[in-house]
């Protein structure tokens, strides 16, 4: 049984200006210990998807349809209390901006104590602090700093604290939403390596959400590419790299600069992301696609299995594009 199974998940945001469908008909699965990458632009729906898995879709969002099964249990049917038990303990979430994810008026040691006492009510404060020290040590944070406040740490260190809080209770699944976007490149690499080693040590599954496809290609077993609230491509990372079918994926791959090439022209995908209040008719990508056919403008393509566990949502995938990419 897969660890995580998502079926036809649809999430809407309702506002006074209209309803925005942020996630549409998303289905995928994740095995124990696997890494899944979720790539897409801002507004593609990936963050909403991540938060929805633990039923924390931000207000005014609502999960309209679908199933989310963690270890066989459909969490959408659980009571809020039972869901709370899962959050933090079974499934952990790492947020994007470390500067704003910690409680500014709580010492970091206290964060851990609170977490442990919330899930294991009989934990004594001293024991909790001891466990916290172990976790933080492994992350490279000096134990003398347990009594410090979040603002006394740098961004990179705060992200490590967040990771510490996420893995402290040995979750089976960690969802990391742009864990390195707010950090500089060197720290980025360190954090990602850290996540990877933790994953291997504890056997956690990881969902890595990022707009940076290069990170995802490097570190994930399978990749979902999202665009305009849909999954447009879903495949193993090596397969995706060798054989990108959807024009958006091809565009993304093409735009990754190659440090080895001397005179490289940076390529970008023309146009801008769709207005989700009023998305284009038919395939959502057609206004930016070089290979549009008539059918693309009127009918929405469905996700099709093209073999090799590779799924694509496209009527007219460009042929030549695959060869241009280094």
């Amino acid at each position: 049984m897969p660890l995580l199974e998502v079926k036809s998940l649809t999430v809407d945001y309702r506002s006074s200006r209209g309803t925005v469908r942020a996630v549409e008909d998303v289905s995928f699965s994740l095995e124990k210990g696997e890494t899944l990458g979720l790539a897409g632009e801002s507004g593609s729906g990936k963050s909403t998807l991540g938060l929805s898995i633990i039923r924390l879709t931000p207000v005014p969002g609502r999960i309209v349809k679908g199933q989310i099964k963690i270890d066989g249990t459909d969490v959408l049917k659980l009571s809020e209390d039972r869901m709370r038990v899962i959050r933090g303990q079974k499934v952990a979430y790492i947020f994007q901006d470390p500067m704003t994810s910690l409680n500014p008026v709580k010492k970091i040691g206290a964060h851990f104590v609170e977490l442990m006492q919330a899930h294991e009510p009989n934990t004594k404060k001293e024991d909790a602090l001891e466990r916290a020290k172990t976790v933080l040590n492994n992350l490279g944070i000096l134990t003398e700093r347990m009594n410090d406040y979040p603002h006394q740490f740098s961004g990179g260190m705060r992200q490590r604290i967040m990771i510490g809080l996420a893995i402290a209770l040995n979750p089976v699944l960690v969802i990391a939403d742009e864990p390195t976007t707010a950090l500089d490149v060197i720290v980025q690499a360190k954090i990602l390596d850290l996540l990877e080693s933790l994953r291997k040590t504890y056997g956690m599954a990881l969902i890595l959400i990022s707009h940076d496809l290069s990170i995802i290609l490097e570190r994930c077993d399978r990749i979902i590419v999202m665009y305009g609230s849909y999954i447009v491509e879903y495949a193993d990372s090596t397969e995706l790299y060798k054989n990108p079918i959807h024009p958006y994926t091809q565009g993304l791959l093409r735009s990754i600069p190659n440090i080895e090439l001397a005179d490289q022209k940076l390529s970008a995908i023309p146009g801008s992301p769709p207005n989700m209040l009023n998305p284009p008719k038919g395939c959502r990508f057609w206004p930016r696609c070089e290979n549009t056919k008539i059918i693309c403008k009127s009918k929405e393509p469905s996700l099709v299995n093209v073999g090799n566990n590779h799924f694509v949502r496209c009527f007219s995938p460009p042929e030549e594009g695959a060869k241009d990419i280094e």
């Binding site: 952990a92 977490l115 406040y149 603002h151």
Partner: protein, 346 residues
């Protein structure tokens, strides 16, 4: 910077503020058009009598000498230690009584009223504000906000009179005009606050009796004041809910109450605290009206009485004391803020 040095710096900064305050009151009372003595006698006395009073109060001296006397009197520590209150001059009405003494015997009543009103206002305000923020855009939210707006528009004495009418006259539950039931002896004077002193004395009955007298006036003032707190708490909570650390806390599976109070309120609270300090000023103004309504023997009623007697020294002294009190409260609030928000100290 550390908490200690912040406190010291802050206290030092208070001194010029106080000086400014005292000067401002002086300017206001002496420099404004109108001869206080003439107004006091309402032009019904002989010129000699007026001259005599002027001399007695030092009003025939040049302005700078008056100012020196005034400031000198207030900072006269010897006087303060001897009498237990600062030298604020003599009452125009009796010319023998010290204004300082009168004020300081009336002050504890106002202080007690102010404290209880603030407690009621903040408790009502914060609880309703939190409730409204959690029920965002629902009927309850609008009702609570409406309540906040309407209570602000009601003149405090109007509400006081209504409450007095309903609870005091019709239902006969509470008496007015006294800090404690006339059949009961007030507790031994330690702080001047009847409720605290009763507890210190260990006398529960006195506590209950003085509390009963306090209830209506502080409820009146508290309800009127709560509107501001409701609105502020609600807005700050709504803003804080959107902050990522609140979602992050939920993502760690923390209980709803922990998140609401330990994360959201705790962080939204700081501006509320500042507002509490600022509101103290409004409170004192409202206290004057409330005391007049309920005949509560505090500083507010003292001022109103003195106005009727055209006793300008007394009015000036009372205004000074009000100002001193407000400055003190703002100092305490600033220090408390620094204590609660570690970021301020750095």
């Amino acid at each position: 910077m550390g908490l200690r040095s912040y406190i010291i710096t802050r206290i030092i900064l208070t001194i010029p503020t106080l000086l400014l305050l005292l000067t401002a009151v002086f300017v206001m009372m002496r420099v404004l058009p109108g001869d206080p003595v003439a107004l006091h006698f309402e032009k019904k006395a002989t010129p000699e009598a007026m001259e005599q009073m002027r001399h007695l109060l030092g009003l025939d001296k040049p302005l700078w000498a008056q100012y020196a006397d005034y400031i000198g009197g207030i900072v006269d520590i010897g006087y303060l230690l001897q009498h237990g209150y600062p030298n604020l001059g003599k009452s125009m009405q009796t010319t023998t009584e010290d204004v300082g003494g009168q004020i300081f015997s009336a002050f504890p009543a106002t202080l007690e009223l102010a404290i209880y009103s603030m407690i009621i206002a903040s408790v009502i305000g914060i609880l309703l504000g939190v409730a409204a923020s959690k029920a965002y855009n629902s009927v309850w939210d609008h009702l609570i906000r409406g309540f906040g707006i309407v209570t602000y528009a009601i003149p405090v004495f109007f509400l006081g009179i209504i409450l007095q009418l309903v609870f005091g006259v019709y239902l006969g539950w509470f008496r007015t005009g006294l800090r404690i039931s006339p059949t009961v002896q007030p507790p031994a004077h330690i702080t001047g606050l009847y409720t605290i002193d009763s507890l210190l004395e260990g006398n529960l009955m006195k506590f209950v009796e003085s509390f009963k007298s306090l209830l209506l006036p502080s409820l009146t003032l508290g309800i009127i004041l709560s509107g501001v707190f409701i609105r502020l708490t609600r807005t700050n909570m709504l803003e804080t809910f959107r902050l990522e650390f609140v979602t992050a806390a939920k993502a760690r599976g923390l209980k709803e109450s922990t998140v609401t109070f330990g994360y959201a309120l705790r962080n939204a609270f700081l501006p509320i605290l500042t507002m509490m300090g600022l509101q103290f000023a409004l409170l004192l103004g409202g206290a004057i009206l409330t005391e007049t309504t309920f005949s509560w023997p505090g500083l507010g009623r003292y001022i109103v009485d003195r106005i009727n007697f055209r006793d300008y020294t007394a009015i000036q002294g009372a205004v000074v004391v009000f100002g001193l009190f407000v400055t003190l409260v703002s100092l305490v609030v600033d220090i408390l803020y620094a204590y609660l928000d570690p970021r301020i100290r750095l």
